[in-house]
Symmetry: C2
Subunit: 411 residues, 2 copies
């Protein structure tokens, strides 16, 4: 017997909500996107060539030259006054909004987490579009929420299905991405928005309206946020982000709300991270005040439109019969449902071997996934690269469709 | 009867953990610190005149000139490689550490929240020094933890009391600030650290070692972190922050850990805020790589030492008989226990009326507060301002001491 028996390595306890999660879907996307031998359509990663780098550098320089000591000092949890003012001006294009109604967050992910932290109890139900943004589902789920998907069509969530789900499940909140939805690229038209608002108002249900893509419109008419319809503004938290418009690296977004919940949101934000980077906040405020974000976004949209067209043109002929693909009027994503019993997750390894990556769609479903779905971001690569890579993806799809059809023919 | 009875305003649901919290202690500190008619000793707010503004501006400029497109793009949840490398070099002064063992957070507050999120279940016990940092208690409490204070003396937490509390309460983790503790300014010497490490090792208890102030030493010998003693590194998460050394506004800190828990921390960080500002991360990395942080900190320490001396000299004669005040060898805070039945919270309004603010000590206790305590930060103001304001505070204290003694004499 040894006096010093070998100790097993110390094992940290892990909270149940993170048990078995050695990685996260988003982390894996970013890892895939970093591979240089693969054309990745997996992430919603802006093309860095399109960043307004000179303008952003100007603004950092201006802030550090004119507001330097303040930028390096502590700020307030609600966010810096200048940025809240600029954010309010943008929201007010659709919905009367004052700076006091804005809470600054470190990107939309933190906004979703702050809202979940402020509102959700374990066991609460959150209704979401089926499919929906997977990292939002995670922010709700780690707060113990039961996340339930509501049926959708190409016009977004179905009002009748939403009404039934609310009456059945009594959700604490409904989470929707009405414009250029992630992952489908779908947009709810005004009639659909009105019908959804009517359901939410009648049932006094909280809406979390996530709108990171709305300004990236290539065609069609802009639609007002659901928050601006009827009396919805009082029961909606509306989320915007600078990530898709200016830069994801600066991590600045905001929540627009009304009433007492604003106090709770600020307290939750303080508990989570005290405040967002003051340097970044003041820089984004300066950018919005002194540069022409709309002109920049128009330029980006012109490029994205070409890329959407390139992908839509390339993918149509390589899809198997009966497959469905969306053709969004803006945003970053196409969504394809291949059918034929194809498992897009299983197919991914072959696609990556062929030098193409996409995001398998199953992870966007809170339940009952269509495993033949995939999300394709068209924003990162030039049209020629897209056409070439989609061609290679088509060969992989064709092989899997034949294989799957062969299997089902034998059943 | 009206066809349209007036609707009551919509009320958002609020999670129980935030119910009744219209504000937070830290938010109120920052509000008080913003008043120009009050000399505030309330916050641990660095003097902005001491910021190395030119150096920081240089680094933002360098990053945006040399790594601009990367700085504006998405990064990874673990943190940017250069910053993790620089952080590891600093930690390795006391404890062998690789970049892989570093997780970047948006300041120490987010680090505490990430750890709580990754490890704590509702009902878990967290042991803390009594008194301790109030925002850490909040990060644990909103995760449903029962936070229990352990007795301390002027040398820090008492090993026997810690041992007893661990055996009684079976805590999920112990949270300590061994150097220039917040709020007391106390430091555990090496013998005390060894005794505490022995207790934690014997009971296989997780330690969260928070060290935002350790580099701000004015006198005495540096002490190694508890994480570096015996086999503690495997069961410790060690927290550092750039807030007190370089700038609180850039919101950059890190966690040093070992083993599988690092994966869980990255997943929790991704769920909370995806990643910290890439611009800020690369800038801090550049600052650490190209500027002399130690020389900057030495300059700051020289100024803080004078201010500590000014406050210690001014406060000694104005304290009532039997009061106790700490004289820390570094950090930002003095801690006074006035006794005489004084309620420092009730006294604050009179102090503010006299143009002086401090932080009442009761909020730093998880339970059984000594309500006669106050925390005084000496870092924000010049010695003459400190001497003058402490003089006025002395008059307020004298009035309250007489009043309290009169009351107890009549009982």
């Amino acid at each position: 017997m040894s006096e010093h028996p070998e100790q097993p390595p110390f094992r940290f306890p892990v909270a149940t909500r993170y048990a078995g999660m050695a990685s996260s879907p988003l982390k894996d996307i970013f890892a895939l996107a970093a591979r240089t031998d693969v054309v990745s359509f997996a992430g919603g990663i802006p093309d860095p060539e399109l960043f307004a780098l000179e303008d952003v550098r100007d603004c950092y320089d201006w802030v550090l030259s004119h507001q330097g000591r303040r930028a390096l000092q502590y700020g307030v949890s609600e966010g810096e006054a200048e940025l809240r003012e600029q954010a309010a001006l943008r929201v007010a294009r659709h919905l009367p909004t004052s700076a006091e109604q804005i809470r600054i967050t470190s990107g939309s992910q933190e906004a979703l987490f702050v809202i979940a932290e402020a509102l959700l109890e374990p066991g609460d139900v959150v209704l979401v579009e089926s499919p929906t943004y997977l990292a939002a589902v995670q922010a709700f789920a780690v707060h113990g929420a039961r996340v339930i998907g509501v049926d959708t069509d190409d016009g977004g969530v179905l009002p009748d299905a939403l009404d039934r789900a609310i009456r059945t499940h009594h959700p604490k909140l409904v989470y929707l991405i009405p414009t250029f939805q992630n992952p489908t690229g779908r947009t709810m038209d005004l009639d659909r928005r009105r019908a959804v608002a009517a359901v939410l108002e009648r049932t006094a249900t909280v809406l979390v309206e996530d709108d990171p893509y709305g300004d990236l419109r290539f065609s069609g008419e802009p639609c007002p946020p659901i928050a601006s319809l009827g009396a919805m503004s009082a029961q909606t938290l509306l989320l915007h982000s600078m990530s898709k418009l200016m830069s994801p690296g600066v991590r600045i977004g905001w929540i627009r709300g009304e009433g007492a919940v604003l106090g709770t949101l600020a307290v939750a934000k303080a508990a989570i991270s005290m405040q967002s980077s003051v340097v970044d906040q003041l820089t984004v405020a300066r950018y919005l005040a002194s540069k022409d974000l709309d002109a920049h976004v128009a330029r980006v949209c012109g490029v994205y439109r070409e890329r959407r067209d390139a992908m839509a043109t390339a993918i149509a002929p390589v899809l198997p019969a009966g497959a469905h693909v969306t053709r969004p009027e803006g945003g970053m994503f196409l969504w394809a449902s291949l059918g034929h019993g194809i498992d897009a997750q299983a197919m991914l390894a072959h696609a990556v071997a062929a030098g193409v990556a996409y995001l398998p769609g199953w992870s966007f479903y809170a339940e009952d996934p269509d495993r033949s779905t995939m999300r394709l971001s068209y924003v990162t690569h030039a049209p020629a690269v897209i056409a070439d890579a989609v061609g290679r993806l088509g060969e992989v799809i064709a092989t899997h469709a034949e294989r799957a059809d062969g299997v089902s023919a034998r059943v």
